[in-house]
Amino acid sequence: LNTKELISELKKRLNHDKDKVDVLLDSTVKIIEQELLNNNSVGIQGFGVFDVRKKEERISVNPITKQRMLVPPKLTLSFKPSTTLKERIKKVNA
């Protein structure tokens, strides 16, 4: 499912016109991004938490050449599904 299909699906479910769904989707994504850039974690009940985490710098070794490299620290975005979502995944499988 890509963005186009997502928009048409939303349109169908909500009975809105395309422009409105476009605007809503756009601002939703932008706001989530903005919150994350402000170092806030975004928690959606029943869905999960988006969180910015810091990975510390580390030394990694190339096993073949034995070359040691210093990998700098970085900030990454992580998503943790909520327990309800995890339960649902389990149910689907069972």
Partner: protein, 384 residues
């Protein structure tokens, strides 16, 4: 801070110019669709500007129960994965985007040998190397120094790549012989670089430091006496730089070296009259401790401290690595700035930090004693 769905609903309503009810309904459907699509149709959901949600299957694997040590089997199961979009990833990592992975010296024992050599005051083989390099740096101007450094780096790179590409077994015998030589050469180069870097960096930073001081801050925060001598210092500095351009540096610099004490302090020159005890910043217990355990270390600073504006997400440890060569020396930056830093882990961005020029006997990244001392000071600070 944590933001919940309710906040997002409000903000979306505001930005899209719709009622809260409408945006609430939209967001609920939005996340419902993501869940439905990823779960039921076992597809992925790609949202432009955010990323892709996908259901992945995890294969069955063996594991160990941490409490009982019993072997258990984790059955095959599904998990949801989220891969952020490239642009979002880059935007989030922006504070650290300037950092790059860099290659450390290949041999693990290099550091140890290096520090041993340093302890011997670089007496043996490397004497010639260091000496000639120092001459070069003294006699020529900075551009030449940079060239030297770049060339040496290139040589180093070539050696490393050569080393790693030779993997054939036929070559092994020769390689073993070569390797010894290569290790020695690498060691020499690294030693030379360290010496050069330390020498020139402290000089440069000092230049910048004094200049900044005069331009930006009329109010001085260090010592009552220093500002007066500072002006004089800067005049002499200008004179000196004028001399440099005329090519009369040699005599001046040699004079410094002979005038300096037995320990090699490269930037010990007539300019450093504003020398005062660093231990003003220590409390008495810490001074006693340092004197008892590390009597060789001089708790003094030279000249005026360099001022650095702390960027976002830059920490004292990073500053220490940049200025002293090892992050463990952050304690001294902290101690020097206790008047403005309340807590070392919570420093607001944009704060102007003073970086003191410390004696090499205190902040030598190659000396185990110095690192131990810094470590002890840190332990002490943590106890406070």
């Amino acid at each position: 801070m944590k933001v919940i769905l309710q906040d997002i609903i409000e903000k979306v309503a505001e930005q899209a110019g719709v009622t809260k009810k409408l945006s609430e309904g939209f967001l609920q459907e939005f996340f419902d669709i993501i869940i439905d699509e990823t779960l039921n149709k076992s597809g992925s959901v790609k949202i432009k500007g955010l990323g892709t949600f996908k259901l992945l299957s995890v294969e069955e694997r063996k594991s160990v129960n941490v409490q009982t040590g019993e072997e258990i089997i984790i059955p095959q199961h599904e998990k949801i994965s989220f891969v952020p979009e490239k642009d979002l990833k880059a935007a989030i990592n922006k504070p650290y985007s300037h950092l790059e992975t860099y290659i450390l010296s290949k041999e693990g024992h290099v550091d140890v040998q290096e520090s041993e050599d340093e302890d011997n005051e670089e007496a043996n083989i490397d004497e010639g190397n260091v000496a000639t390099e120092d001459n070069i740096t003294v006699e020529n101007n900075i551009t030449v120094e940079e060239n030297v450094q770049i060339e040496e780096r290139e040589v180093e790179k070539i050696i490393i790549t050569e080393n790693s590409t030779k993997t054939n077994k036929d070559m092994e015998e020769r390689e073993n012989k070569n390797r010894k030589w290569i290790i020695i050469v690498i060691l020499l180069i690294i030693l030379g670089l360290v010496a050069w870097w330390w020498f020139s960096d402290s000089k440069q930073s000092e230049d910048e430091g004094t200049k900044k001081e005069l331009q930006i801050s009329p109010e001085h925060e260090i010592d009552e006496e220093v500002p007066v001598s500072d002006v004089i210092i800067d005049e002499t500095q200008e004179n000196r730089s004028a001399q440099k351009s005329e090519g009369e540096v040699k005599s001046g610099d040699e004079g410094e070296e002979t005038a300096g004490s037995s320990t090699p302090i490269p930037n010990r020159s007539p300019e450093f009259q504003g020398e005062y005890m660093f231990d003003k910043k220590f409390d008495f217990k810490l001074i006693d401790f340092m004197q008892a355990n590390y009597p060789n270390m001089k708790l003094i600073t030279y000249g005026t401290p360099q001022k650095v504006t702390l960027e976002k997400d830059k920490r004292l440890t990073l500053l220490a690595r940049d200025y002293y060569g090892d992050k463990r020396f952050w304690v001294y930056i902290y101690l020097y700035n206790t008047d403005i830093i309340k807590h070392p882990n919570r420093i607001p961005a944009g704060m102007v930090i003073k970086i003191p020029k410390l004696d090499k006997s205190l902040v030598d990244p190659n000396s185990k004693d110095c690192l131990d001392a810094a470590w002890d000071v840190q332990k002490y600070l943590l106890k406070m």
